[in-house]
Symmetry: C2
Subunit: 526 residues, 2 copies
C-alpha cells in the first residue's frame, strides 16, 4: 500500500544520524567519487541517444541548410573573411556583403574538420577529450552581472570573476572554464589580460578566450603559450583553449566573430560555432525551421575555419530555443528546447562534429523554475549526445547574471549526472544471493557483513541535499537548498587551493601582462 512508501520505516536505524553543523549546512562528502571508481574528470555518456527526426528528415534538414548557404547566402561583415571565402570558391557580392557557399565547399570543410580532439590544461590530469561519447561540463559564461543572496544583483567585478574561477576549479565535474562573469571594474583595454592571468594562476583547466578582435586574441593565446611553455608549433598541435562564436542570426557573421574563427583556426584552437537561433525571434518559429537556420549558420562558420586551416578543431554549437510569443522573451528548458537539443545532436553527428549544447534558464532567481529549466536542458542535451555542456553551472536570468548559489546547486545536479554515467559494477551480481541470504525475512541490512564492507563508499555523498527529517531540518533553521548553497559557496571559496604553477611561468605571465598593459593593452573590437 502506497502509504508505506515513505521515510517512516527508517526509524529502524536507531537514530544514527550524525549531527549537522549549526548552520544547517550539509557536511562535506566523506565518500569521494574515486572510492567508487568514478572519475568526474573523464566522463563518457552512457545514455542511448534520443531522436527528434528520422534519418531521412535529418538529411533533409542538412540539404535544406546547404541550399540556404548556397542560394540565399550569409552576410559576412568582415572584409578579410569574404576574401577568404571568395578565394576558396564561394560567390561573393561585395555590395551586399553576401557570401554564397557552394555545397561542395561545405562538404570539403566537413571532411577535414576533426570529429574528436583533446583540450589540454595545466597538467595532464586536466586534459579533456571532445567528441565521440565524451561528456564535459563548463560553467556559466558571459553575464555582465553577478548575483548572490547576500549582495543581490550588481555589475560583475574582478573579485566575482576570480571567485567563479575558484569555484569552477574546486569541482572536478567542471571540466573547463568559461568567462563566468564580466569584471566591469577592470578597464576594457586590460581586461582580457587580467582575466587570462587569473585563469592561468587560479586554475589548471582548459579555458575560454573571448573573440573580441585580433589584438586581444593574440595577447590571450600568447599568454597560454607562455604559461604552458609551448612554441607556436607545439601549441597549434594541441588545443588548450577555446572560443565561442555566436552568429548574428539570421544569416549574418560580424567582424569579431569572423576574426575569431580565423584566429582560432590559424592557432589550432577550437571555435564553438553557435548560432543564436531563438525560434520566433532570430529564427523561424518552427523548431525545424530554427534548426535548419542553425545548421546553415554553423556550417558557414565551420567552412570558414577549414578554409583558414583544414583540420583545425571546431565544434558544432547550438543554442536553439523558443521565445515567449507574448513578449519575445527567450525561454529555456522548454519542451521546444528539449526537442531542439535532440535534433541538434542529430545534426552535429550527421556532419561528424563534436556538439556543444547548453543548460539554461530564464528564471530570475535560483529557484525551482531555474532548476527544472536547467535540468531539463541538461538531460535533453545528454540525450542529444552533447560533448560540451556550456552554462552548466551558475547561469541565471537568461544569461544576464552569474549566480553563486545556483552554481553550487547546479554542481550538485551535475555530480549526480556524472555519478549516473558510471555503470553499476557487473561483479555485484555475484554476491547478491549471499547478501540476501544473510538477512532474515522482515529484518534489515544495516549491520550485516555485505553492508559493513561497503557502506563508507557505496553511495554518492551529496553537496547540497539535506536528507534529515522535518524536525531536525526545522531545528537547523528550515533552510532551503538555495539557502544552504549560500553557506557552501563561501566554504568552498575559503577552502580553495590554487593549482601548482612554476615560478618562472608565473613570472613570465606577470611580465607579459604588465608589459602589454603598459603598452596600452588592446580595446575590444566590434
Amino acid at each position: 500500500m502506497v502509504d508505506r512508501e515513505r521515510r517512516g520505516r527508517r526509524d529502524r536505524t536507531g537514530g544514527r544520524r550524525k549531527g549537522r553543523k549549526p548552520d544547517g549546512e550539509t557536511p562535506r562528502a566523506t565518500s569521494s567519487p574515486a572510492d567508487r571508481g568514478v572519475d568526474y574528470r573523464h566522463l563518457k555518456n552512457p545514455l542511448p541517444l534520443a531522436k527528434a527526426f528520422s534519418d531521412d528528415q535529418t538529411e533533409q534538414i542538412h540539404r535544406t541548410a546547404l541550399r540556404v548557404i548556397e542560394e540565399l547566402g550569409i552576410r559576412v561583415l568582415h572584409d578579410g573573411a569574404r576574401d577568404r571565402f571568395r578565394k576558396a570558391g564561394a560567390t561573393v557580392d561585395e555590395t551586399s556583403q553576401m557570401v554564397r557557399i557552394d555545397s561542395v565547399l561545405v562538404e570539403r570543410a566537413l571532411a577535414t574538420a576533426p570529429s574528436e580532439f583533446s583540450l589540454a590544461g595545466g597538467n595532464p590530469g586536466r586534459t579533456v577529450q571532445i567528441g565521440g561519447t565524451n561528456l564535459t561540463f563548463t560553467p556559466v559564461g558571459g553575464p555582465p552581472h553577478a548575483i548572490d543572496s547576500d549582495r543581490g544583483k550588481r555589475p560583475g567585478t574582478h573579485e566575482d570573476f576570480r571567485d567563479f574561477v575558484k569555484l569552477a576549479q574546486s569541482f572536478d565535474v567542471m571540466h573547463m572554464l568559461n568567462p563566468s562573469v564580466e569584471p566591469q571594474d577592470v578597464a576594457n583595454h586590460s581586461r582580457h589580460l587580467e582575466v587570462t592571468r587569473d585563469m592561468l594562476f587560479l586554475s589548471d583547466k582548459p579555458f575560454f578566450i573571448y573573440s573580441r578582435g585580433e589584438p586581444q586574441v593574440r595577447d590571450c593565446l600568447e599568454l597560454v603559450r607562455i604559461a604552458r611553455g609551448l612554441d607556436e608549433t607545439a601549441f597549434k598541435a594541441q588545443p588548450h583553449c577555446f572560443t565561442v562564436i555566436n552568429t548574428n542570426s539570421p544569416r549574418q557573421l560580424d567582424i569579431p566573430m569572423c576574426q575569431g574563427i580565423m584566429d582560432f583556426a590559424a592557432a589550432g584552437q577550437p571555435s564553438m560555432i553557435t548560432p543564436f537561433t531563438l525560434a520566433g525571434a532570430m529564427a523561424p518559429i518552427t523548431m525545424v525551421g530554427a534548426l535548419t537556420l542553425q545548421h546553415a549558420e554553423a556550417l558557414a562558420g565551420v567552412t570558414l575555419s577549414q578554409i583558414v586551416d583544414p583540420g583545425a578543431p571546431v565544434i558544432y554549437g547550438s543554442f536553439t530555443s523558443n521565445v515567449d510569443m507574448k513578449s519575445g522573451a527567450p525561454a529555456f528548458g522548454t519542451p521546444e528546447f528539449v526537442k531542439a537539443a535532440f535534433g541538434a545532436g542529430q545534426l552535429a553527428r550527421h556532419v561528424g562534429l563534436p556538439w556543444r549544447g547548453s543548460a539554461a534558464t530564464a528564471s530570475n532567481a535560483p529557484d525551482v523554475q531555474a532548476c527544472y529549466e536547467t535540468l531539463n536542458s541538461a538531460w535533453a542535451s545528454m540525450l542529444g549526445g552533447v560533448n560540451v555542456l556550456i552554462h552548466a553551472a551558475g547561469w541565471l536570468e537568461g544569461g544576464l547574471s552569474a549566480s553563486y548559489e545556483k552554481f553550487i546547486l547546479d554542481v550538485e545536479a551535475l555530480q549526480i549526472l556524472a555519478e549516473a554515467c558510471h555503470s553499476l559494477p557487473a561483479t555485484e551480481a555475484d554476491s547478491a544471493f549471499e547478501a540476501i541470504a544473510e538477512v532474515e525475512p522482515g529484518g534489515h541490512f544495516f549491520g550485516n557483513t555485505h553492508t559493513m564492507e561497503r557502506y563508507q563508499t557505496a553511495f554518492y555523498d551529496p553537496l547540497v541535499s539535506d536528507w534529515s527529517n522535518f524536525g531536525q531540518w526545522t531545528d537547523n533553521g528550515s533552510k532551503t537548498a538555495t539557502e544552504r548553497a549560500n553557506g557552501i559557496w563561501k566554504r568552498v571559496l575559503k577552502e580553495y587551493e590554487p593549482p601548482k604553477l612554476e615560478d618562472d611561468a608565473r613570472q613570465a605571465i606577470d611580465e607579459f601582462v604588465e608589459r602589454r598593459i603598459s603598452e596600452g593593452g588592446a580595446e575590444p573590437e566590434s
Copy 2:
C-alpha cells in the same frame, strides 16, 4: 562569443510583453496542448530506453531472484495466501510461514499476466492504457500530512484530500488519482467510504484503493461498480481502479498485502506489487543486490495474483533507492536511484510486465532539492520505460507530506515532459527554406508570415515559469516559482469544475456510503 548568449537581444520585440497580473502570477495558458496536436491524456514515451545492465546481466539477476524465491523463500503472514501457494505447488513451512516457490510456478504466472491492459474512468476519454510505450502520471500517494506555504505542515484533513483530488482532476497530465493525503479527521471505519465517494464525485479518472483488509476493499470495489453501472462480470473484464502492494522487505508479505493481491486479482483489478527495497536498509547495499531482492519479491506477489486468477492485471512496481549510510534516512533522485530505475525497467520488460516507477524526493521543502530529486527520478523513470509514474506531483519529505505548492511545480515539469513526448511535425521541414528566405540577414522573424500563421499555438504556454525580465519580476514582488505556485493552486481550486455524474449514480453512491457507515463501516486490518 558567449556573452551574446543572453536575453539582451530580445529588445527587438519592442516591449510587446503583456501586463502581468498584480500578484505576479503567470496568466493562464492561452495556447492549449490540443492547439499543437498534443494530447496530455494519452502519452507515448518516445525516448530510447537506458540500460543499467547487459541482457546477460538482466537474465542473471532474474535467475538469482528465482533462486531467492525457490531456495530462501518468502515469509507469507496470511494463512489463506500460504494455502493458495501450497495448493499451487509451492513448498510451505507453516511453522516459519516460509513459502518456497518453484521457478516453474513463477514462469507460469509470468506467462498468464498481461503485458498491457487499460484502466477505465468515468468517461471514455479518461481511459488510460498501461504497458508498452504508454506513459501515465499519478500524483502523490500516502502522506499523513499536508503542507502549504500558508498553513505549514499539519495532519491531513478531509478538505485536504478533496483539494488534492480537485487539483489532480484539473490537469490532464495527471492520468489517475492516488490517495494524496490521509484525511485524519475522518473516522477509520468510514474513511475508505468517504474518500472513495470523493474520488467518484470530484473526478472521472481511474483511481487508487487502499488494501487495508478485505471488508474495506469490498466496499470500495462495490462503490466503483455502482458508480460505473457495472455488474461483477463487466467490472472484472475491465479494470477501473488499482492498489499498491508494498512488500515488507526483505522477503516478507504481510496479511493486508496478501489480502489485497488476492482481492484485486479476483476482481480483475490491477495490483502494483512494489517492494520497498532501500539499498543498505531493507535491501542489500549494492544496487544490483537491491534490485535482485526487489525482483524476487515482485515476482512472488505477481505469482500469488496469477494463482488466484490467471490473467489478472498486475504491475511490476519498483521503489528501489538508497539510504544515507550516516543516518539510514532514505534518499531519492540520487545517482543510485537513476541507475536503479534503468535496471528496474529492464527487469520489468524482461518478465513482460508493465512497470510502475516513482518520482520522489527527501527534501523537506518544495525547493531546488525537491526539484532536482523529483526531476532526476522522472527523467530516469522515463528512460527506464516507465508506464505508471507514481508520486509524480506533490510528494514531499520522503512521502510524509503532500505539498500543495510542489503539486503545481511538478505539474509544470510533467507538462513539459508530456509536450516533449510529442514529436516535431515532419511537414515543418517543407517550409523551412521559405521561412528563412522571408527574412533579411540580421533581421528578425517576429512579424513575418510564417510566424504570424503559427505564433498563437507554436509553443508550450507554462503554468509556473515566469520569463519576464529582472525589473518586471522585481516589480511583481520578486516571487520565486514556489511562491507563484501558491497563487496557482488557489486559482485552480477556485476554478475547479466537477465532472458530470448521473444523478442516479450519485444517489446510489450516497445510499451505499450512508448505509455502510450506519452499519459500522469497516476498520482497517493489519
